[in-house]
């Protein structure tokens, strides 16, 4: 038992993460007050929360994303703190600041940290200050040709030139080697001058064969622990599909190095909350580079919970109550392998179009090593106002092979009628030789989909 505990919190979210937080509250004896929109009135989290408060109409901008509605609910219903979950207001620095001003607790870091980490250039600067490698590139925009050439040769190849005033893919070029650099640079800069009236460019190493690896951290403002990495390389259009821990490509040295980098970053800013430090991992050079930090709980946090046994939501609530971290790094060991599959109400055959509708019948998979975090149940109507994720299947196995076998078994077992989901698609991904090999990069899912239609 820890010294301090929140008496009650307002959960300013919906769906599976709202339910996840309700569950943690129940286990801790914290009163959960769930803020919900009219569209979620008959949802499972509303049924299971200790108390539920309607905060606005279906539209997220007038409910889950309305800082006034959320804070007003927190004040009127006298909770100790607001848990924002993920998405919506979870990384909104202004909202966090309003909480600070209004004297409402916020389960997250100080607004200034959210603001700094939300600014990609600022975050990169902090990372460098903490000695964390970032993707090699120019420190800022360069308007002089000669300076650009000098920096470019430092950054290395392939090199991405981005017009400072460009955007949406315009004014970008990849330079494969030093041979064509000067000509390419001159062309891009003069094009940018013509098109945007500004010749300045950013330079950055162009990485293609990459994986997405992130470190789960928890800090209390004084000290930081990490819960190992999650590998989120299987993505479709930058949306994570499958996450796993440990990563199938890291060796022990890299694993330690990545984790230490993430911890150093947290220590640099005096971070306070659970958080995720995201890296790209260059398969060829086997080097990692910081890309951003998420200052909230993430969708894929259960993967780390399954291999460490540590309940991250409970840790968030303990820290928000003002307690020091109840665990040290030595208390944390990684056991086995965990895989998460996000299940969306989407139709893979229709370009993953969202498929809201009524769940006529639902049966959860069960048994050893299977965890399902979902808010759906038989009779539930998926509203069309929010994102299409209807649940997360998380499996644990002694090793990656067992985890994959278990995930396939559980996906087969799960029974959803009335709504099309991506469960079958996830099954195909996991069952593919490429996924099984562990040897792929962020292009894997796109290539897999091409292969299927070819």
């Amino acid at each position: 038992m820890t010294a301090k505990q929140l008496n009650s919190i307002l959960i300013a979210n919906r769906g599976e993460i709202a339910l996840r937080i309700v569950r943690a509250c129940k286990e801790l004896g914290i009163t959960s007050v769930l803020a919900y929109s009219e569209a979620d009135r008959s949802s499972l989290p509303v049924k299971l929360a200790d108390r539920a408060v309607c905060i606005g109409p279906a539209s997220a901008s007038k409910s889950y994303q309305d800082p006034r509605a959320i804070i007003s609910a927190a004040l009127a219903f006298k909770v100790d703190a607001i848990h924002p979950g993920y998405g919506f207001l979870a990384e909104n620095a202004d909202f966090a600041e309003m909480c600070e001003t209004e004297g409402v607790g916020f389960v997250g870091p100080a607004s200034s940290i959210i603001r700094n980490m939300g600014d990609k250039i600022q975050a990169k600067k902090i990372a460098r200050r903490a000695g964390v490698p970032t993707v090699p590139g120019s420190d800022g925009a360069i308007a002089q040709h000669a300076e650009a050439v000098a920096v470019a040769n430092e950054v290395g190849y392939p090199l991405l030139i981005k017009a400072s005033a460009g955007g949406g893919g315009r004014g970008m070029r990849v330079v494969e080697s030093a041979e064509t650099l000067e000509r390419d640079l001159a062309e891009i800069m003069s094009e940018a001058e013509t098109a945007f009236g500004d010749p300045a460019v950013y330079l950055e190493r162009y990485l293609t064969d990459i994986r997405h690896i992130e470190i789960q951290v928890v800090s209390d403002g004084e000290s930081t622990v990490h819960l190992g990495e999650r590998d989120c390389t299987a993505q479709r259009r930058n949306q994570k599909l499958v996450e796993e821990s440990p990563s199938p490509v890291l060796d022990e040295e890299l694993r330690v190095s990545l984790a230490e980098a993430a911890v150093a970053l947290c220590q640099e800013v005096g971070y306070r909350n659970a958080g995720t430090v995201e890296f790209v991992f260059d398969n060829l050079e086997r080097r990692y580079y910081f890309i951003e930090m998420n200052t909230r709980i993430q969708v894929e946090h259960p993967v780390s919970e399954m291999v460490t046994g540590i309940d991250l939501i409970k840790l968030q609530l303990e820290i928000a109550a003002g307690n020091p971290l109840p665990i040290a790094q030595d208390d944390i060991t990684i056991r086995g392998h965990a895989i998460e599959c996000r299940i969306n109400a989407e139709d893979p055959a229709q370009a993953f179009a969202p498929k809201p509708g009524r769940i006529e019948s639902f049966r959860a998979p069960g048994g050893f090593g299977v965890r399902l975090d979902t808010h759906i149940e038989t009779g539930y109507v998926i509203p069309p106002f929010y994102d299409s994720m209807v649940g997360k299947l998380i499996v644990w196995g002694n090793d990656r092979d067992e985890a994959i076998a278990r995930a396939l078994r559980a996906l087969d077992e799960m029974h959803v009628e009335g709504v099309t989901t991506t469960a079958g698609f996830q099954r195909d991904i996991l069952d593919s030789a490429t996924f099984r090999s562990g040897d792929f990069n962020t292009a894997f899912v796109a290539e897999f989909l091409e292969g299927e239609t070819a």
């Binding site: 009219e38 408060v53 606005g56 109409p57 007038k62 509605a69 007003s72 609910a73 109507v381 509203p383």
Partner: protein
């Protein structure tokens, strides 16, 4: 008014949702420059009438814009405030000439302008459309809730200082016939 295919598909899915969800009675959506208002008859399970409506259709959502004037917690005079949604009383017994005043936002209900002052209205009081019925405090901003109809207050459903949800019934007014 320019709706393309995906827009129409999304609108259709919204209407489908309303039709499959038992507890949605009214839905208003502003989508670009199109406003859609769907209202479902409570008793008859017939399909919902769908009418593309101009902004003259009084949707609750459109009226919930925050009050422009700022007010502090101490301000004695409540700021000019957003109006509230007027909806038929959800209770089965609600007569046709009764309107239920619901909370336009989650917040704290005050029955009087100041602590200790007499309540704005009591059961049996006659009110006109512009009568202030109560105050809703939303983040220290005091919002007047007006009657919007002429009639007599027949029920006050919440206590002074009580926290109220969005859409929570606050009072019932028997409308003049």
């Amino acid at each position: 008014m320019a709706l393309n295919q995906p827009d129409i598909r999304e609108l259709k899915s919204l209407v489908d949702w309303v039709n499959t969800t038992p507890d949605v009675r009214e839905l208003s959506i502003k989508y670009g420059d199109v406003e859609l208002f769907v209202s479902r008859n409570e008793r008859t399970p017939a399909s919902a009438p769908v009418a593309p409506a101009a902004s003259t259709v009084p949707t609750g959502a459109a009226e919930q814009s925050p009050a422009p004037a700022a007010a502090t917690a101490e301000s004695a005079t409540p700021a000019s405030a957003p109006t509230h949604g007027v909806a038929p009383k959800p209770a089965a017994a609600a007569a046709e000439d009764e309107v239920t005043i619901t909370a336009p936002m989650v917040g704290t209900f005050y029955s009087a302008p100041n602590p200790g002052a007499p309540a704005f209205v009591e059961v049996g009081d006659r009110v006109s459309a512009d009568s202030v019925l109560c105050i809703l405090e939303v983040m220290k901003l005091m919002n007047n809730v007006e009657a919007k109809v002429d009639g007599v207050v027949t029920e006050i459903l919440v206590e002074n200082n009580e926290a109220v949800e969005f859409g929570q019934p606050l009072m019932v007014i028997k409308r003049d016939s």
